[in-house]
């Protein structure tokens, strides 16, 4: 039994006469203790909305959430609000993308960290301050006692992200959701933050749901990777399997369109044509079909289902998947 089980999650925005738009359309995945699961996709694929729904951060009006999400056996979506508040921050915590806008600019870092300790762990006064300093120290912020008194703008980008991580791990949560935790950071700082996340997972056995658009980050960090497109999982596999044999034309195309540091120069990239706007509704067929090179008539006959055309545990939502290895090798070579 997994720590977090998400089953057929659908999220629909709209109502009040406005046209409904389905951001997430039946996404299922599981995250186990000590496991890192990646949700990968381009902007608009529904990856961030998924994380907000799991944390209960979507507004109650104008959003319809369907499907089930169970955390340690309890259904997150039917839970009452106060139980949800107890859970959020202590058992499940989130690291946001932009540390400057997720920290309160007019409150010192220390107060923001202590707030969590008071709310969830009942610490007060000196004890809470000590624990806060210890947390900052643990995420690698030098001189933590001084930093506690500083405001977010006085910290550098990398240090703000560390402070945010310190707040997320304050109550030793069993589940961490990281929404693009390194996107706003420089690569050398990104390396530091990723290292910190790795330590957390290895030493504490924290489950980590990693949401990112960067396939490079995923390759080094995640056990299981889910590639999303237009609100649906199009491919799901272990990281070696996925990167070694990308089978959905979208995942295949994504890997072909990334300039790689270790690739020989001069070879043109093989981009995916069009943009995310060129899509059709999943109900009519494969949303990726208008951009797909392997498009055939079968792509337009209803929603393609997840199958395992290549290996057990390697799920692909495609009627005409990339199965010939020669082509796949060309991309990975």
């Amino acid at each position: 039994m997994s720590l977090l089980t998400v089953d057929e999650l659908t999220i629909t925005f709209g109502g009040r006469g406005r046209k409904e738009s389905r951001a997430v359309d039946g996404v299922s995945f599981e995250v186990d203790q000590g496991q890192v699961v990646g949700l990968v996709g381009e902007s608009g694929c529904g990856k961030s909305v998924t994380s907000l729904a799991l944390m209960g951060l979507l507004p109650s009006k104008g959003v319809t959430i369907g499907g089930r999400a169970e955390f340690d056996g309890t259904d997150l979506f039917t839970m009452n609000a106060s139980a949800r508040r107890d859970l959020r921050g202590s058992e499940m915590a989130m690291i946001f993308q932009d540390p400057l806008s997720s920290l309160n600019p007019v409150v010192p870092i220390g107060v923001q960290v202590i707030e969590i300790l008071e709310r969830h762990r009942g610490l007060k006064g000196e004890a809470a301050r000590k624990e806060a300093a210890h947390l900052l120290d643990r995420v690698g912020i030098p001189d933590p006692t001084r930093r506690l008194k500083e405001y977010p703008h006085q910290l550098s980008g990398g240090m703000r992200q560390r402070a945010l991580i310190a707040m997320a791990v304050a109550c030793a949560p069993r589940m961490l959701i990281a929404d693009e935790p390194t996107t706003a950071l420089d690569v050398t700082i990104q390396a530091q933050i990723l290292e910190l996340l790795k330590e957390l997972v290895d030493q504490e056995g924290t489950a980590l749901l990693m949401i990112t658009h960067d396939l490079g980050v995923v390759a080094g960090l995640c056990d299981q990777v889910n590639v999303l497109y237009a609100g649906k999982t199009v491919e799901s596999a272990g990281r070696r399997e996925l990167f070694g044999h990308p089978t959905h034309p979208y995942a295949h195309g994504l890997l072909g369109s990334i300039p790689r540091l270790d690739a020989p120069r001069g070879e043109p990239l093989t981009p995916i044509r069009g943009s995310i706007n060129d899509r059709i509704a999943w109900a009519d067929g494969c949303a990726f079909a208008p951009r797909c090179d392997r498009y055939e008539m079968g792509c337009l006959t209803g929603t393609p289902q997840l199958t395992e055309p290549r290996a057990a545990g390697h799920q692909v939502r495609c009627v005409n998947p990339v199965l010939d290895d020669a082509k796949a090798e060309e991309v990975t070579a």
């Binding site: 902007s43 030098p142 700082i189 990723l194 960067d214 990334i258 545990g313």
Partner: protein, 454 residues
């Protein structure tokens, strides 16, 4: 002779204080002595982290910011000394493609108006008819439908907007195009389209590019020569392949090792050099080698006092490090920093049975020991607390970065203000690299535009 030559370019922004009188209390040394040469028809890539001055350097070439010292010579003319009107006319030969395609296009102008504005200013084309013909041919080159003329920027997707930005530069038939983070605001699949477009245009029109980007993989892909910047100066410059094969400067080494490669096989074998601390403030750069506060190989005396010059170490590979040869030979020991594996410890699968590796295997293997009782968890976290001081110490070894962010953000704010006050399109925010623009629905013939894009 090279087409574009920069010699000792410095751009310093004054830091002003006071309400009634502007006292200058210091300078932000955004660009501090950069010399480089760009040959005709080649692509020069400038790479570095935010705050290293790469954007300011690019803007200074077009004189969008004032050059404090040094010369920028394009085809024999020193731009730094040209008076305003002549400089304006000269800008036809130097064009820029900006980072944020939506922010750099006027939302109230249609595409024809945006593209013809520059042509009118520079007196290209007799009448609007002639200009329109020219614009149409350029639009076709950059892969936009010809019905784009009457449409407005919001009607296009992010990739298409960047194509408009490129078309705007191209209509003036410039010699050099400066691309400031041309793809960083775009999605991965669209990035590749734009990169390929830049490549094709260069081949077809013989353009010269200066590409400024923070993404080393992108820069390596499109550039012939790469210059790596750190805190306002070049630390290394080499041919793209030579730089990748053998980075000589410690900063370049760390930067390259930090770039993730989307391939688990490669990632498993790679090691990462973790730098300690953050970028020091450009308002108060460290003495001696700018990088010595974070350098894993920093030596006690020389690095802290003597600023290394960019020197040729053979084959046009220039590096600004006193000990580049020793580090390459492996005779110098690392004094700080950490080298870690690029992948997570105990991450999944056994490489031997690659195909059959199911994700269930690792978690089963891992879960028994992970089911810790509360006591164990406490013991574990205590053990960790004991481990930690080392790391904290390592981070504290660079005393300056630890003490400075306050000043840094302060002065950065000022720098930005001056930059913005300077006019021109405000794309000052170097850091918002991955701001995802929400593309509007592109209702008119998306399929057609997709075809052309492909």
């Amino acid at each position: 002779m090279s087409l574009l030559e920069l010699d000792g370019v410095k751009v310093h922004f004054p830091i002003k204080k006071g309400i009634f009188v502007d006292r200058t209390v210091g300078h932000v040394y955004a660009v501090d002595g950069v010399s480089l040469k760009v040959e005709a028809g080649e692509t020069y890539g400038l790479v570095g982290e935010s705050g290293c001055g790469k954007t300011t350097l690019g803007r200074s070439v077009l004189r969008l910011v004032d050059i404090t010292e040094g010369s920028v010579v394009l085809d024999g003319t020193d731009l730094a000394k040209l008076p305003g009107e002549e400089m304006r006319r000269f800008r036809r030969r130097l064009q820029m493609v900006f980072q944020d395609p939506l922010g750099s296009l006027n939302p109230r102008q249609n595409i024809e108006s945006i593209l013809s504005e520059g042509m009118v200013a520079h007196g290209i084309g007799k009448d609007q008819e002639e200009r329109r013909e020219k614009i149409k041919s350029i639009l076709e080159k950059v892969g936009l439908p010809s019905n784009a003329l009457a449409r407005y920027p919001h009607e296009f997707s992010g990739g298409q907007r960047q194509r408009i930005g490129i078309a705007r530069a191209l209509v003036l038939e410039p010699d050099v195009i400066i691309c400031d983070e041309p793809v960083s605001a775009l999605d991965v699949s669209v990035q590749a389209q734009v990169i390929n477009l830049l490549d094709e245009l260069q081949e077809e029109l013989g353009l010269t590019y200066v590409v400024i980007a923070h993404d080393l993989a992108v820069v390596r892909h499109i550039s012939d020569t790469i210059g790596v910047m750190y805190l306002g100066s070049l630390v290394e410059e080499a041919q793209s392949d030579a730089l990748y094969a053998e980075p000589k400067h410690p900063y370049t080494k760390a930067l390259m090792s930090a770039v993730p490669v989307p391939d688990p096989e490669v990632e498993d074998k790679r090691e990462r050099i973790l730098l300690t601390g953050d970028l020091p403030s450009p308002a108060n750069p460290p003495a001696g080698c700018r990088f010595h506060t974070r350098c894993p190989w920093a030596q006690a005396e020389r690095c802290a006092t003597e600023r290394p010059e960019l020197r040729d170490v053979g084959g046009g590979h220039r590096v600004a490090c006193h000990f580049a040869d020793e580090i390459a030979a492996g005779t110098l020991k690392r004094t700080a920093g950490e080298v870690v594996s690029a992948t997570r410890e105990g991450v999944d699968d056994n490489p031997t049975s690659d195909d059959s590796a199911t994700p269930a295997v690792p978690q089963q293997a891992a879960s028994p020991e992970r089911e810790t009782t509360p006591e164990q968890a406490v013991a574990e976290s205590e053990a960790q607390a004991e481990d930690k001081p080392e790391v904290a110490e390592a981070a504290a070894e660079g005393p300056e970065p630890a003490a400075e962010p306050a000043e840094k953000s302060d002065s950065d704010g000022k720098a930005e203000k001056t930059e913005k006050a300077d006019g021109a399109e405000a794309d000052g925010a170097e850091k918002s690299d991955d701001a995802e623009p929400a593309p509007k629905a592109d209702d008119a013939k998306p399929a057609e535009s997709a075809e052309k894009a492909g």
